[in-house]
Amino acid sequence: MNNDNTVIARSVTDPSAFGEIFHRYAGAVHRYAARRAGDAVADDVTSETFLIAFQRRARFDPAREDARPWLFGIATNLIHRHRIATARVLKAMERSAPSPVTTHHPDEALDAQLAVGRLAGRIRRLSAGDRDCLLLFAWAELSYDEIAEALHIPVGTVKSRLNRARRLLRSTPEEGENGRPDLAPQTA
């Protein structure tokens, strides 16, 4: 099978060849966007991601064999336009978890549900940059190098953002970064 860079290079003179890139990755891009912002937003993000990528295909780095970082980078930027939807998804997960104050049932499933709610709240409180790195790593399954490529930032920055994000995820409900109490929720 041809690598992505070969297909994209061919699409410069044979535009229809770009359909193969859609075929390979549209499902994954849609799923990533849907996990972050819901199905309706994912429809728009997927459509626009591939249109933008198609328009920019001549500028795709021919040394890159894998188009995923490029596509997920475009999709991530587009998801930023849907902050309300993104926050709504995370808030819905927070709300779906029972309140730890009113619930004392020692059931494992319930514990897991509580943990999910807490986690969603912490993701929502992350900065946009940290959240992008974290979700590209965990949900899009990109490597550090690929996240750097997707977001156009140094690999070192990716590592520091991921470390910070994971530290915040592990913190107690009352603590934020560096043990400080969480402030009001940031814009998602």
Binding site: M1, N2, V7, T13, D14, P15, S16, A17, F18, G19, E20, F22, H23, R24, A26, G27, A28, H30, R31, A34, R35, D39, A42, D43, T46, S47, F50, L51, F54, Q55, V89, M93, A112, A115, V116, L119, A120, I123, L134, A138, W139, R166, L169, R170
Partner: protein, 334 residues
């Protein structure tokens, strides 16, 4: 459970979208691609003569027919998006692996039956074509369970080869299916790698020797030629389906009936330089079986003002005997 594991499970229930969900996005991309095609100054459209394409043919038997065969009448295809085709093909691949193919026991034969409505066109010296009366051809290939035994090929035309009753039926016997000199299967199945669909496609792609309107078209045609002329075993068939899913331009059309009325999904390919001509195989996505083929020619491709559709039906069964030979095997030229 650590934080990363929990994070990975978060909203893990969100599945990849189905074809219908992705179709609008692909349509927008397709529109952009077509617009770019039109403005591309580097392209010089090149069409192979449709008659030559038709001569790719179902079988060697069809190739020896004097008339070029095209025909049948059906609604023109309305292909869905490439991603829809990919989903159908991958589903069919999964079903093919789980579905039990008919298996010939000792002394038995696998009978690969094809029933085809070609309708025939006869070319004339003044460049016009004349439609011959519609005719049905039956082609049965008998593959013995014993690899050393002779294969059998039975073929008939219900109204004679040229519609005048001049040829009714014949049976040819030959080892390895060499009824016309070369093996019946267009590929050595044992040489096809089946580690993954990508690997299978790479194998076919490496065999490209030029020709066709594009390399992708050539890959598509060689894979579908094998699928529609030979009862490819499920493990190989599954990889061939996956390979087709990887070829740019592959599309699907739901609800297409084969010549016997059995409904499946037609897998074809939009080739920009083909002006709407399509070669498709019809598969049953529920079993991963190939149940027919369809070829569509827009008006003007074969006959002025007439759209043409070739339609066939295929099935595989196990039988205890093959019909006796009536005609000796021939050389490469029939």
């Amino acid at each position: 459970m650590d934080d990363l594991t929990l994070l990975r499970r978060l909203r893990d229930d969100v599945a990849e979208p189905d074809a219908a969900r992705l179709a609008p996005a692909y349509r927008k991309l397709e529109t952009a691609m077509r617009a770019a095609e039109k403005t591309s100054a580097s392209r010089s459209p090149r069409r192979r003569h449709p008659v030559r394409w038709a001569a790719v043919g179902l079988t060697a038997a069809a190739a020896v027919a004097a008339a070029v065969v095209v025909g049948g009448v059906l609604a023109p295809p309305h292909p869905q998006s490439a991603s829809a085709a990919a989903i159908v093909l991958r589903q069919a691949a999964a079903e093919a692996i789980t579905y039990s193919d008919p298996e010939a026991g000792p002394g038995q034969y696998l009978k690969f039956h094809t029933r085809a409505d070609w309708a025939s066109y006869q070319g004339t010296s003044d460049q016009t074509v004349t439609r011959l009366p519609s005719n049905i051809q039956n082609v049965d290939v008998y593959l013995p369970s014993d690899p050393g035994a002779e294969w059998a090929l039975y073929r008939d035309w219900e109204h004679g080869q040229t519609g005048d009753g001049g040829f009714v039926a014949e049976t040819i016997h030959a080892p390895e299916g060499r009824f016309y000199g070369s093996p019946w299967a267009s590929q050595d199945l044992s040489a096809i790698p089946i580690g993954s669909g990508a690997e299978t496609l790479a194998y076919f792609d490496a065999q490209y020797q030029g020709g066709s309107a594009s390399r992708d078209e050539d890959d598509f045609v060689r894979i579908t030629d094998l699928l529609r002329t030979y009862p490819v075993p499920a493990p190989v068939r599954a990889r061939l389906f996956e390979a087709l899913a990887l070829i740019p331009g592959t599309t699907s059309t739901d609800g297409v009936a084969n010549l016997d009325g059995r409904v499946g999904v037609a897998i074809g390919r939009d080739e920009p330089q083909r002006s709407g001509e399509r070669q498709e195989i019809i598969i049953d996505p529920g079993t991963g079986q190939v149940i027919g083929e369809r070829r569509f020619f827009p008006a003007g491709a074969v006959a002025a003002g007439e759209e043409q559709t070739v339609l066939t039906a295929m099935s595989v069964t196990v039988v205890d005997t093959a019909p006796p030979a009536t005609t000796p095997a021939r050389d490469e030229n029939g």
